[in-house]
Subunit: 239 residues, 2 copies
DNA sequence: CGCGTTCTTGACTGCTTTCAAAGATGGTGG
DNA sequence: CCACCATCTTTGAAAGCAGTCAAGAACGCG
């Protein structure tokens, strides 16, 4: 009731987490407190958490989990957007988290252990991430360049919508074609040619960093694409 | 101390979970009890849990999480082996869990909520699954057919080893080339040709359902492959 | 022994990559 | 305000990896 947690209502991260699980004043205040410890990370820099901390929250910007090979090949396995959880587990593979744009992160609220609402939102976030990983595997395994690109754009539109970062069919896509290539398992040359096809066929417009999907419903039909609305994914035991 | 939970020491599922987190008598007894409710699922049938139950444990056999398209294309996103956790969340995509061989499953122990050891093992199992999903994305995105196949075989060997189901560099691979194709985002024809290359170059032998990797270390070096030993993946907060 | 499934093979097509170089774009300093 | 430079985008031609189609061989199970 104090205005303390009102201002952050407009935070994309809070918007997303609220959509995943209804958050009461206590949770919102905890998030508000956590956001005060926000830290900025410059483009191309690695996203890390304070030593000992294993869980972070993306507040703004785009980051990516990237696998790289010794010969210079790269594959982006997952993109992190505002409101996404950042799990910094240690793995044997050469995987790192890189800022694709300037990124703001904060540690997750300390009160988490006692806060069922936030726990629920985080559990939901983890389920969604696994769902996105599954979908990305299907995308890379069986779709051609045109479908891969449009399918990913639909998904990204939906994810940004969860955080309130879309404007109808339009959203900011602040990444290069090269990054898109690393994401979709293609070369930047072929991403470029694919984009030209899609622009020519009036599937999308992309200029000045803003992308517009002209007819998302038709695309979704063609791709068998099902949006993952908030609450679409359910599980009983949340641990 | 009673022999009640001794016999299951030889169960692949228990072997795997014990490798993920040390399990005491209470956890082992709980697993033993759960295994008594084992259920068999025939090949090609969908793997389901009792209504209301959302968590299961694979006891034996091979299962797969499969995405299929309306035109008949299929992509296997993840393979489930003995000791793997089966999360039956509901998702919007047409994803199902199919038995690649006869499969035995059981519900997870009821005592889970109070059993820190089992919780730790399950949390570890979830981390590993995410790690495998990441790696599969990298595989599909950037590796050619030969490397995709060998990389996946190395990983599968390591996973089976966790459950005690390997014999040196040899293990049972009870799936068809068609399934391998659905898994690796290839066609069965090309999987066949790739296997012939690998056999010709003395990379592997595969007959009678048993596969043998001739020089796994050389393969791993060539692929930048890092095995995920038990305990390789760490995270502090396990929720 | 017979039949269905799985494996194998050949020829041809096609999507994507590779290599190389020429434009466009945007930010910076003079 | 413009020149300049780094980055990003666009283009063309040629090569390669994987897909498609079709048919025959081998295998395994009842």
């Amino acid at each position: 009731m104090t205005p303390a947690f009102r201002p952050t209502d407009s935070s994309p991260a809070v918007t997303r987490l609220s959509a995943l699980a209804p958050l009461g004043p206590v949770s919102l205040a905890a998030l508000d407190e956590a956001q005060r410890q926000r830290r900025k990370i410059a483009v191309h820099r690695e996203v890390t958490l304070a030593a000992g901390s294993h869980l972070g929250l993306i507040l703004s910007g785009w980051a990516a989990r990237v696998r790289h090979w010794s010969d210079g090949r790269r594959q982006i396995m997952h993109v992190l957007l505002a409101g996404d959880l950042l799990d910094m587990e240690q793995a044997p593979d050469p995987v790192s988290t890189i800022a694709l744009t300037p990124v703001e992160i904060c540690p997750t609220p300390r009160t988490t252990s006692g806060d069922d609402e936030l726990m629920a939102a985080f559990a939901q976030s983890r389920m969604l991430e696994r769902f996105y990983l599954y979908r990305h595997i299907a995308r890379l395994g069986r779709l051609n360049a045109v479908d891969r690109l449009t399918d990913w754009l639909l998904e990204t539109h939906d994810r940004l919508a969860l955080a309130g970062l879309t404007n109808g069919n339009r959203f900011d896509l602040p990444i290069t074609q090269e990054t898109l290539a690393d994401l979709l398992g293609l070369t930047s040359v072929h991403v470029n040619r694919t984009l030209q096809l899609l622009r020519r066929d009036l599937v999308l417009e992309w200029s000045g960093g803003a992308l517009c999907l002209i007819d998302p419903e038709a695309l979704a039909r063609h791709l068998d694409y099902q949006p993952a609305h908030a609450g679409t994914i359910k599980q009983a035991s949340g641990f």
